[in-house]
Symmetry: C2
């Protein structure tokens, strides 16, 4: 799983609620992902979600106090990309990591939800915290993969590595090519 | 003006509608920016906008067929940042350009609107086109500033330059420091 899996504070870890509650949440999240793919975040309202899923609005609000919380769950669940392996070659480890990050974001509901959370972060401390936690967690994951190479990535370097690909893929809605990823990693290694 | 000013196709250029229409649009955009700052894009609905601005929903829909069109106008208007100057030193020109891009995005409604458009781009070709147009326009602007330096920036290099700062500022909601910008520009020049 790519932009998910938070080891640090248990976000996204399986909860120990009862199975019926878990089934309802999973069903609603599936419907929410369909709605996000079809209409985008602006039309993913609790009314629309209630109507489509057959779950009452009261129940929805019990699970997710607001739409931001729902979006965070959409990022943290969903299809998992193949996870890259660690190794001693910093270049190939980092290239594979970025490719797998990109693969995770080809899941449209997840990419949409990331952007919706980012758009809310100025006003919602929980969204801001979720974004930071995801970034910290992903950097830790890359550094764990890089252990055998003797290199590590600091915060600025992580922005330098992920930024170009995410700019192209998420912000400009263009194609983040393998060449872009290769050039980014080579520029990092040259410094 | 930073993420605005589209020379290419006239998006954002003054229209020649009548002054009363222009005043109404300007008033609604001001209210929309307030709502965006207060509540974020998910709560910027045409109902809320109508209620707060006193303009009927019918009139709103006449000006903006959907919320995406409204968000594009919010990006293309709004406070303008100090514009960098061109010069022969590629390093200082590019650093100032990125700083001014960052300054333009400290305007919360604009940053929020950019993310809201990006979140909609998978389903709305107009949003996707608007994003691409803004990116093409900004790269042209940087290359015009760089003319005297003899260097130019291709699409991948532009992603390499803007990506790290925008990743930190927009996607992770962190601080895009001057050091990050300096490191990014130095890595570009070293290649």
């Amino acid at each position: 799983m790519i932009i998910s899996m938070s080891s640090a504070s248990g976000v996204g870890s399986p909860s120990h609620e009862n199975p019926r509650v878990e089934r309802t949440k999973a069903k609603v999240l599936t419907v929410a992902r369909e709605l996000l793919s079809e209409s985008g975040p602006m039309d993913l309202t609790f009314s629309a979600l209630s109507q489509r899923s057959g779950v009452t609005r009261q129940t929805l609000y019990r699970h997710w106090p607001n739409r931001a919380a729902l979006f965070v769950d959409i990022v943290l669940t969903g299809p998992t990309a193949s996870y890259p392996e660690g190794g001693s070659d910093a270049r190939s480890v980092t290239v594979e990591f970025l490719q797998s990050l990109r693969e995770g974001l080809t899941d449209v509901p997840r990419a949409t939800a990331v952007l919706a959370i980012a758009a809310q972060a100025d006003r919602d401390p929980e969204c801001a915290a979720a974004l930071e936690e995801i970034a910290v967690d992903r950097r830790k994951a890359l550094n764990a993969l890089l252990t055998g190479s003797g290199r590590q990535v600091d915060e600025d370097e992580f922005a330098g590595l992920c930024g170009p690909m995410l700019f192209r893929h998420l912000l400009v809605h263009g194609v983040a090519t393998d060449t872009l990823i290769d050039r980014t990693v080579d520029a990092w290694l040259a410094n």
